[in-house]
Amino acid sequence: METKTFAFSYRSCAVVAAAFLAVAGCATTTPPAPAQLALANAAVNDAQSAGAGEYAALELRAAQNKLSWANAAQVNNNAVQATRLAEAAEVDARLAEAKARNAKAQQIAGTLQSNLQTLQQEIERSSSSTGGSR
C-alpha cells in the first residue's frame, strides 16, 4: 500500500481517535499503543519459546520486524501507526507460535505412531514364534 496515502488517512484518523480518547476516555476499537506493544512483545517472546525460529522462521521474522517498527513509530509519537504495527506483529507472532507448536506436535504424533507400529510388529513376531512351536 502507498505509504503516502496511509500516512494521510492515518493522520486524520489519529486526530479523530485522539479526540475520542480525550472525550470518551474509555475503550475504543484501537487499543492504546503501549498496551498493544506489550501484547506484541509478549507474543514474540512466546513464539520464540515455542521454537518458531526453527519451525516458522518467516512469520517470526515478520513479527520481529513489525515490532521494532512499531517501537520506532511509538518513539516518533505515531501512536496509530505504532498500534497498527504492533497489532500486525502480534498476529504474526501468534501465527508463528501456533505453527511451531503444530509442527512439533505432528512430529511427536508421527514418532509415536511409528513406534506403535514397531511395537505391534514385535508383539506379533514374538507371539507367533512362541505360540506356534509348541
Binding site: 500500500m1 501465527l95 503444530n102 506436535a105 505432528q106 504424533a109 505412531q113 508383539i123 507371539s127
Partner: protein, 331 residues
C-alpha cells in the same frame, strides 16, 4: 497533479463506477474472505479451534464493516490482514489439537497393545505351565506305574519263592522223586484194576494235591506216563497204559488244571518197577507216573535220547524184560 485531486478523481470514477458495476474490490479483503471461508468450512477447525475461528470471523466482520462504510479507508487493508492471519492461526491451532489427540490415542493404543501382549504372555506361560505340569504328571504316573509293576513282579517273585516252597512241600507230601526231567509223582497200581483204565477212588487225595501243585505253578508242564504189567498183549498194553495216562489227565483237568500243559505217554509193559511174576509186583507195575517239570519246556519222554518237545509218542524203546528193569533210563 496534487495527490488530493488525484484521489478525488479516483473517488469520483469509483462512485460513478458504483452505479453500473460492483463496488471497488479490495485485494486484501478478498484474501481475508477466502481464508476465513476456508477455515469456516473445515469441520476440524470448527471442532478443535472454535475460539480462534470466532476471532477470525469477527476480524473479517470488522474489516467488512469499515470497507462498506468507506472502501478507501486504510484500516480496511490492516483489518483484512489481521483477519487473514487469524484464520491461519485457527488452522494451526486445529492442527495442534488434532496432533495432541493423536498423541493421546497413540499412548492409549500403546498401553492397550502392551496389556494385550502381557496378557498373551501370561496365557502362554500358563499354557506352558499346564503342559509341562501335565507332562510332569504323566511322567510321575509312568514312573509310579513302573514302580508298581516292579513291585508286582517282586511280589510275584516272592510268591514264586513262596510258591516254590509250597510246591516243594506238596511234592514232598506226594513223595515225589527228583529226577533229571523234573519231579516224579507216582500213582501206584492199586489205583487201577488190571486191564482197566479207570481210576479208583483212592487216587482222589493225591490227585487233588497234584492238581494244586499244577494250578499254583501254571508255567510248569507235566507229563503223565502210563505203565502196565506184562499181562496180555504188548500192543494192547501200550494202548492201555496210554489210556491210564489219559485218565489221569482228565482227572487233573476236572480239578482245574489246564489239560493243554499235560502231556501223555504210554509205555505199556516197558520200564517195570517190580517183578511181573508176582501179583504184588504186577500191581506195582500197573502205575502212572506224573513228571512235573522244573520249567515250561516240554518234558522228554523216556528212552528217547535228544528228543524234546512234540508228541512224546514214537517208536517203542526199551522193553521191559522179565527180570525187571528197575533202573529208569531218563532221556
Amino acid at each position: 497533479m496534487k495527490p488530493s485531486v488525484m484521489s478525488a478523481a479516483i473517488a469520483m470514477i469509483g462512485t460513478l463506477g458504483a452505479c453500473a458495476t460492483a463496488p471497488e474490490k479490495n485485494a486484501s479483503l478478498e484474501q481475508a474472505r477466502l481464508a476465513v471461508d476456508q477455515v469456516q468450512s473445515n469441520a476440524q477447525v470448527a471442532q478443535n479451534a472454535p475460539v480462534e475461528l470466532a476471532r477470525a470471523r469477527e476480524a473479517l466482520r470488522e474489516a467488512e464493516q469499515v470497507w462498506r462504510n468507506s472502501p478507501q479507508d486504510a484500516r480496511v487493508d490492516h483489518l483484512a490482514y489481521l483477519a487473514e492471519r487469524r484464520a491461519a492461526i485457527a488452522q494451526e491451532i486445529a492442527g495442534i489439537k488434532a496432533a495432541e489427540q493423536a498423541i493421546e490415542q497413540a499412548s492409549r493404543d500403546r498401553d492397550r497393545l502392551l496389556l494385550q501382549a502381557r496378557t498373551r504372555e501370561a496365557e502362554q506361560a500358563r499354557e506352558q505351565l499346564a503342559t509341562s505340569e501335565s507332562e510332569v504328571e504323566r511322567a510321575r504316573r509312568a514312573t509310579q506305574a513302573a514302580r508298581e509293576q516292579a513291585h508286582v513282579q517282586e511280589q510275584l517273585a516272592l510268591s514264586a519263592e513262596e510258591r516254590n516252597a509250597r510246591m516243594q512241600q506238596r511234592l514232598q507230601e506226594l513223595q515225589a522223586q527228583e529226577t533229571e526231567r523234573g519231579f516224579s509223582v507216582l500213582l501206584s497200581g492199586v489205583l487201577f484194576e488190571s486191564g482197566e483204565a479207570t481210576l479208583k477212588a483212592g487216587a482222589d487225595r493225591r490227585l487233588e494235591q497234584l492238581a494244586a501243585v499244577l494250578r499254583e505253578n501254571p508255567d510248569h508242564v507235566a507229563l503223565v506216563e502210563g505203565f502196565t504189567d506184562s499181562t496180555g498183549d504188548e500192543t494192547y498194553n501200550e494202548d492201555l497204559s496210554e489210556q491210564r495216562a489219559q485218565a489221569v489227565r482228565e482227572a487233573l483237568a476236572s480239578l482245574g488244571v489246564d489239560p493243554g500243559r499235560i502231556q501223555v505217554q504210554g509205555y505199556g509193559e516197558a520200564f517195570p518197577v517190580a517183578s511181573n511174576r508176582t501179583p504184588a509186583g504186577r500191581q506195582l507195575n500197573r502205575r502212572v507216573e506224573i513228571i512235573v517239570a522244573s520249567d515250561s519246556a516240554n518234558i522228554p519222554p523216556r528212552g528217547f535220547v535228544g528228543r524234546a518237545g512234540g508228541e512224546p509218542r514214537g517208536e517203542r524203546g526199551m522193553r521191559g524184560s522179565g527180570s525187571g528193569q528197575e533202573q529208569e533210563t531218563p532221556r
